[in-house]
Amino acid sequence: MSDGRLSIPVGANDHVVGPDDAPLTVVEYGDYQCPYCGQAFPIVERIRETFSDTLRFVFRNFPLADMHPHAEAAAEVAEAAGLQGKFWEMHDALYTNQRHLEDDALLHYVADVGADVDQVTKDIASGAPRQRVEADFEGAIRSGANGTPTFFINGARYDGSWTYEPFAEYLQELLDQK
């Protein structure tokens, strides 16, 4: 049976916000061009505010490139910006500007978040961001990610609704059990 368990534990290479010892860990496998991930973006922000120090949030790449032609390039740009310590700024910029993810637009956002555009271009050409995105993607598939976005909460795939109320309610229940 498909068990829907996170196959790669959260580690030092991950993009993480929130304390390492938080009782709740939410891993999102997302695609920058997917409209549902775009809808989830402000909800995740709100969830993070609500749960504050009790929640650790991790973002990993799951670009469905057949459906979303800009998703792969956007993911690589975010990873390249991450090499300059600007991952979350880039992540936010991409979801905020989700309707415009053409290549030249992506480089504008790089400049907007204060990352070095030439360095981002060089790093992308090196292939390292692509390898990271591919590794994330394979990890998503092996974990039973079943669409974009897929959330894993404390290692288990969350198949419930990720609109704010049910999502927050579920997290609160888990927290109360701790």
């Binding site: 049976m1 498909s2 068990d3 829907g4 196959s7 670009p63 469905l64 490139a65 057949d66 459906m67 993607f137 394979e138 598939i141 092996r142 974990s143 039973g144 990610a145 079943n146 669409g147 974009t148 897929t150 795939r157 198949d159």
Partner: protein, 151 residues
């Protein structure tokens, strides 16, 4: 329900496009047969998109993905193009659901099929299967592990 692991996989030849038939016997390597209820329905679309995106992982292991539903070839063609799905979608359309019945995943009361996955080995034997609730997209992890177990 659903043909058991170890059973021979029933042969079929179904339209993959309005003028091209695809038969199970054409494939030398492992086949992943993805039965889904209908083109255009929300869960199905996610399921097929995930398998399509994971296509490379299956191809690297010599496996062929085949989607199958009771929709007709014209409908499949439009759906495949709109979603950019990278593997054949077979039309189990006439007689309706005949192949789904052979695999014991036809839903007589609503005329669709279960959301079911079968992994078929080179000897055309079923080595793994999974039937999911209609509203739950199973993901591709189970099928990928089953294909890996063949090599």
């Amino acid at each position: 329900m659903a043909l058991e692991v170890g059973s021979p996989a029933p042969e079929f030849a179904l339209l993959a496009t309005p003028d091209q038939r695809v038969a199970l016997s054409e494939f030398d390597g492992p086949v992943v047969l993805i039965f889904y209820p209908a083109d255009w329905s929300p869960v199905c679309s996610d399921e097929l998109s995930v398998f399509s995106a994971a296509g490379k992982l299956f191809h690297e292991r010599g496996a062929q993905l085949l989607g199958i539903s009771v929709d007709g070839a014209w409908c499949h063609e439009a759906y495949k193009e709109q979603r950019n799905i990278g593997f054949p979608l077979l039309a189990d359309f006439n007689p309706k659901g005949a192949v789904a019945q052979l695999y014991d995943v036809y839903r007589e009361h609503d005329g669709t099929t279960e959301r079911a996955l079968f992994v078929i080995d080179r000897e055309k034997k079923i080595t793994w299967s999974e039937v999911s609730p209609l509203g739950v997209n199973p993901g591709a992890d189970g099928a990928l592990r089953a294909v890996e177990a063949l090599s």
